[in-house]
């Protein structure tokens, strides 16, 4: 696919210091990179005039429930000019549970990152307003982690009296 060669060649010539691996599955391309390079990478992808990834579709995280590299933060971005979708993945450790926020690049990521923080507890550095999205502010747990039970923890959410 020509867009794939264009992508890899442009990335190699303009961002030489950044390592990434490419995985292709069912016609979709995922790039796996290190979490400290994410803002530079995204900014280049957005501002380059040929690639022009101007639309951020989704930001989420996966909990692998293993000891090393427990979480993976996943970004989906789309280029309206080339009609091409790309996925970026970064691994995050459980002890060092933070990653830089890309809400300075795309405004869409603002609420999506808040939702990821609410559900997984991954802290986003330099986020303008990081607070919980769905659960009440006083809630102490992170629901989508694999160690949180489906029925919840009794007593963690208050109910009005009859």
């Amino acid at each position: 696919m020509e867009i794939k060669e264009l992508l890899t060649s442009k990335l190699k010539e303009n961002l030489p210091g950044i390592q990434f691996t490419t995985v292709e599955y069912r016609g979709e391309i995922s790039l796996i990179l290190n979490k400290k390079d994410i803002v530079k990478f995204c900014r280049f992808l957005k501002e380059d005039s040929d690639l022009a990834f101007n639309f951020c579709e989704d930001v989420t995280a996966i909990d692998w429930a293993r000891r090393n590299q427990r979480y993976t933060v996943v970004y989906h971005i789309f280029s309206m000019k080339n009609k091409f979708r790309l996925r970026l993945k970064c691994d995050v450790e459980e002890d060092d549970c933070n990653i830089d926020s890309i809400s300075s690049v795309w405004k869409t990521a603002d609420w999506e990152e808040r939702e990821t923080y609410d559900m997984y507890g991954i802290h986003f550095n330099n986020h303008p307003d990081l607070r919980r999205m769905f659960m009440p502010e006083e809630f102490e747990f992170y629901p989508l982690r694999k160690d949180f039970p489906l029925m919840g923890i009794p007593g963690s959410l208050p109910l009005p009296k009859k």
């Binding site: 069912r26 989420t60 979708r85 869409t108 999205m133 489906l150």
Partner: protein, 415 residues
């Protein structure tokens, strides 16, 4: 200051007071914090808006979601792909068949099977009919919020005819769960097709009747024109999709740009209007209804004959008659229902053009019967993100018109 703190949590208060254009020390001095609470006749569902007002003008706005957070993503990790189909009905509950189609398309992409052509055409037909149904409610609710109560009753009357079609098709008016992995549940009946043809033939005139009440109405235009303007670039930055984006001039429609099902074979226009205000979004919806009606006529004329479920025994549930009479089908049914379809390890993202915007499912599979992770990219949540941008500087009564024109559905925004 104490009473305000008890109504708005301290972090929300910080977010509200972060806008430091004017130097005041006490929020009570010049401005008021107004709570448009979750229970309100005009917010579409349970959306809470905290507004900071200077007189009647809005200085800033903080929306608060989560009043309908039902834990869909956690439940999806604990049930098989088939068991999740009824849950997808309740995501965007104004167009349930559209969500069914989105889910089974995502699972079929993950598994690597494809439905037969007749099933694809039936799915396109129900997608377009649910687009008409959803837009009718959106138009009616917007008109009702602005004050034109009659239009709401007329559009609901039209919607009841579509719900009758679905009643014949799959037995349920509303939460249908009609699609299956590998096809659809049952073949479309001739009565349903006849009723759909009758509906499309009389739909244009009825929609024109509703338009007569609104399009040249001074009050309607005065309340919606120039309100809630979003420029095209800002809309793309904020991630808006659907009629909200197309009302600002950007022609982004997934049926045209990343085609799925057989939309390549159909002849349709992508409707855009350039002004970016509430009136433009209303016109986009009305024109999309007409476009969908034309597409339904084309689909019904082009529908091929054939079977409606693929022949893939390990992934697709077999027919009930065969389960009761043959051995292999019985075993396959047992394995699929109890242990799931076990797609290969991997991940996909699949999105369709829902009436509200781009509905996407991101599925990660580890080879088991239930997904390891399921993320629902809900268009209404991202569209609500554009609210603070659109509301700033307007008056309190414009909030109602803006929320009505974005048309969020909290079932999918809160997941």
């Amino acid at each position: 200051m104490e009473t305000i703190k008890e109504h708005a949590h301290s972090k929300i208060l910080e977010a509200l007071l972060a806008d430091k254009n004017i130097t005041v020390e006490d929020a009570l001095e010049n401005e008021m914090i107004l709570n448009m609470g979750p229970q309100h006749p005009a917010t579409h569902g349970v959306l809470r808006l905290l507004l900071r007002l200077d007189g009647e003008t809005i200085v800033s706005c903080v929306p608060e979601l989560g009043y309908l957070h039902r834990g869909y993503e956690k439940m999806a990790e604990n049930m098989t792909y088939y068991e999740f189909i009824p849950h997808t009905d309740r995501l965007d509950y104004l167009a349930p068949l559209s969500n069914n189609v989105a889910w089974v398309l995502a699972v079929e992409k993950l598994t690597g099977i494809e439905a037969p052509p007749r099933a694809q055409y039936i799915r396109m037909l129900i997608c377009e009919l649910s687009r008409i149904a959803s837009h009718l409610v959106a138009i009616g609710a917007l008109a009702m919020d602005v004050g034109a109560l009659t239009v709401f009753l007329w559009t609901l009357r039209e919607r009841e005819k579509i719900l009758d079609i679905w009643d014949i098709l799959c037995g349920a008016r509303f939460t249908t769960s009609y699609t299956r992995i590998g096809g659809v549940a049952n073949d479309i009946q001739p009565e349903a097709i006849a009723k759909a043809e009758w509906f499309i033939n009389q739909f244009d005139d009825n929609l024109t009747e509703c338009e007569y009440l609104l399009n040249n109405n001074r009050i309607f235009i005065g309340r919606l024109e120039g309100v809630g303007v979003v420029s095209g670039e800002d809309a793309v930055q904020l991630g808006l999709t659907g009629p909200t984006l197309r009302g600002s001039g950007i022609a982004y429609d997934l049926r045209r740009d990343m085609p799925y099902l057989f939309y390549n074979d159909l002849d349709f226009n992508v409707i855009t209007h350039n002004e970016g205000d509430c009136l433009a979004r209303y016109f986009v919806r009305v024109d999309e209804c007409r476009e969908s009606a034309k597409m339904v006529k084309q689909i019904m004329s082009k529908m091929p004959k054939g079977n409606i479920l693929t022949n893939s025994p390990k992934k697709v549930l077999p027919d009930k008659v065969e389960i009761y009479s043959k051995m292999e089908e019985l075993i396959h049914d047992f394995m699929i229902v109890n242990f799931g379809i076990n797609p290969p390890e991997g991940e996909i993202y699949s999105a369709i053009e829902n009436p509200k915007g781009e509905l996407g499912f991101y599925l990660v599979s580890k080879g088991e019967g239930h997904p390891w992770k399921c993320k629902i990219r809900a268009p209404s949540m991202v569209n609500c993100q554009g609210l603070p941008h659109m509301i700033k500087g307007r008056m309190v009564s414009d909030v109602v018109a803006i929320v009505g024109s974005i048309d969020p559905v909290m079932g999918e925004a809160d997941k």
